[in-house]
């Protein structure tokens, strides 16, 4: 479902590639941790999957489509099959929880009827049914991340990309977010999560891909964060 073949990404301003000859495959329904220290290339990996950027060399295939041959008009369609969550939530401050989630559907022209039906459903799933009318500023960090997850998941994507979703949260809140991501994974959605939170990685025992200076140094199913940690 997702495949990288000899992918190298060299940003114009830097001498060292952010990703260096990376090849890997991720199957439908997998839960994958992308780990590595800051600057190891995790975010770049995720950006390439979204075609936010193109690799310098190599091939990225998502849902059977080779991204670099894809016309730019087809990119929105690709992104409708993927959801994204970030460390900084990226909610619209002047819209309520409900409106934030509905926004993702409105701008891709979903009928109002559908929006009215699915938004409460997904808010209930993330545990925010009582807070639909609140503004992001009136929520805790964990709750804001739940809104972001609801927004990413409301269109039932095939893949959910999460870039350090627990980076701004305390361990207890993070645990709740991880339960939610697991639940989403159980619906058949592939989840790829970049993180350097070793507690989480160690407790989940899922597939781990470790990046180090843009190179995959480890790919282990049911892995832990650091060997010998």
């Amino acid at each position: 479902m997702i495949e990288l073949q000899h992918v190298t990404k060299l940003y114009p301003a830097s001498a060292r590639p952010a990703l260096d000859d990376v090849s890997t495959e991720i199957d439908k329904g997998e839960f994958v941790f992308l780990i590595g220290s800051s600057g190891s290339g995790k975010s770049t990996f995720l950006r390439l999957l979204l075609k936010e950027d193109d690799p310098t060399t190599g091939t990225v295939v998502v849902n059977g489509k080779t991204l670099h041959t894809m016309s730019k008009w087809a990119v929105p369609k690709l992104r409708r099959t993927m959801g994204c969550v970030f460390q900084d939530f990226r909610l619209l401050r002047n819209r309520t929880v409900e409106q934030n989630v509905a926004f993702a559907l409105e701008v891709i022209n979903k009928p109002q009827r559908t929006i009215k039906r699915v938004v409460p459903e997904v808010l209930e799933m993330v545990g925010l049914e009582g807070k639909a009318g609140r503004l992001p500023g009136e929520l805790s960090g964990g709750e804001q991340q739940r809104v972001a997850i609801a927004r990413a998941f409301v269109n039932r994507p095939l893949v959910l990309l999460a870039d350090e979703p627990t980076g701004n949260l305390d361990p207890e809140t993070s645990e709740g977010i991880m339960l939610l991501l697991e639940r989403i994974n159980r619906t058949g959605t592939t989840v790829i999560m970049a993180t350097h939170d070793y507690h989480i990685v160690d407790s989940m025992r899922r597939r781990v891909i470790e990046l180090n200076g843009g190179v995959i140094t480890r790919d282990q199913s049911r892995g832990v964060y650091g060997v010998g940690r």
Binding site: P76, T81, N109, N155
Partner: protein, 297 residues
């Protein structure tokens, strides 16, 4: 397409940077107003050409003491020139006829009429040439001050100078309109960049959830187009006011006398859609190009 969504985005965008929006609308309005003025002057010039060039091209003014024979001889020469194919037509205007025409032309200025004695205007032959450029032939045939001819005047020459003046005015107006249009385009581009910056959170999310490029761009393009339309309406309003307060009032005399053609409502009605289309089209295009060049959507 979700009309409500797009419209509320446009309204928010325009409200969020009022100063830029106002500046953008005003420059657009000035540019379009000048463009409209240029078009009206161009229309006026072609009207005037019709009024004037159709009429006399050469006037042969006779001296005060002209004799019956001298007058008949001039007429004879003109008939001969007509036979030779130089002159298309000519007509004689007596002192009385000249005075009547003068009274009519300057009916708005009774003082002038009152102070002009009826016999102050010379009698003349008004001559239409087959080829207006052949004025020299006539001038050579009737030397000034000889045989009862006082003066031969090429009205075409005067008209040429008048029209080159009017053409100059039109060109200058259009040149200023173009410079203003350039300023308007830069302001529009700037406003759109600012609007895109203000809305970067929204557009980033739209990009990530797979909103089409078109859907993301439309609010910005409409925002510019709306400003262009408001600018065009102001420009049209300005032209209407110019007609009512300046052309119809200050130029009433010469217009009535048939010296300057009036500015008809029909002409304003004709150029208004052109102005509106130019305003909307240029603003929308400037916004689109700006988004393509400077803004990642």
């Amino acid at each position: 397409m979700r009309v409500n969504f797009v419209l509320s985005e446009v309204a928010t965008g325009l409200r969020r940077n009022v100063t830029m929006t106002v500046a953008m609308i005003l420059t657009t309005a000035i540019s379009l107003g000048l463009m409209g003025t240029g078009l009206l002057i161009a229309g006026m010039i072609s009207d005037m050409k019709e009024i004037y060039y159709d009429k006399v091209q050469v006037s042969i003014f006779l001296a005060d003491g002209v004799t019956e024979e001298q007058r008949a001889s001039v007429e004879g020469q003109l008939v001969q020139l007509q036979d030779e194919g130089e002159v298309k037509a000519f007509l004689y205007e007596s002192k009385e006829q000249a005075y009547e025409r003068f009274q009519e032309q300057f009916s708005q200025q009774p003082d002038l009429v009152q102070n002009t004695p009826p016999d102050a205007l010379p009698e003349s032959f008004r001559v239409e040439l087959v080829n207006p450029e052949r004025y020299d032939v006539i001038a050579a045939e009737f030397p000034d001050g000889v045989d009862g001819v006082d003066q031969v005047r090429d009205e075409g020459d005067f008209l040429d100078r008048l029209f080159s003046l009017l053409n100059g005015a039109r060109n200058a107006t259009i040149a200023v309109a173009v410079v203003q249009a350039l300023a308007a385009l830069l302001l529009i581009s700037n406003t759109i960049q600012l609007a895109a910056f203000n809305r970067r959170n929204e557009t980033n999310i739209m990009r990530l959830v797979g909103a089409s490029r078109w859907y993301t761009q439309l609010p910005f393009i409409l925002e510019a187009a709306l400003a262009g339309l408001i600018g065009a309406l102001l420009a049209i309003g300005g032209l209407v006011l110019t007609k009512l307060l300046f052309v119809d009032k200050a130029l009433a005399g010469p217009i009535k006398a048939g010296i300057i053609p009036p500015v008809d409502w029909a002409e304003i009605a004709f150029i208004s859609p052109i102005i509106a289309a130019a305003g909307v089209g240029l603003a929308a295009t400037a916004a689109y190009v700006t988004l393509r060049l400077y803004v990642r959507l």
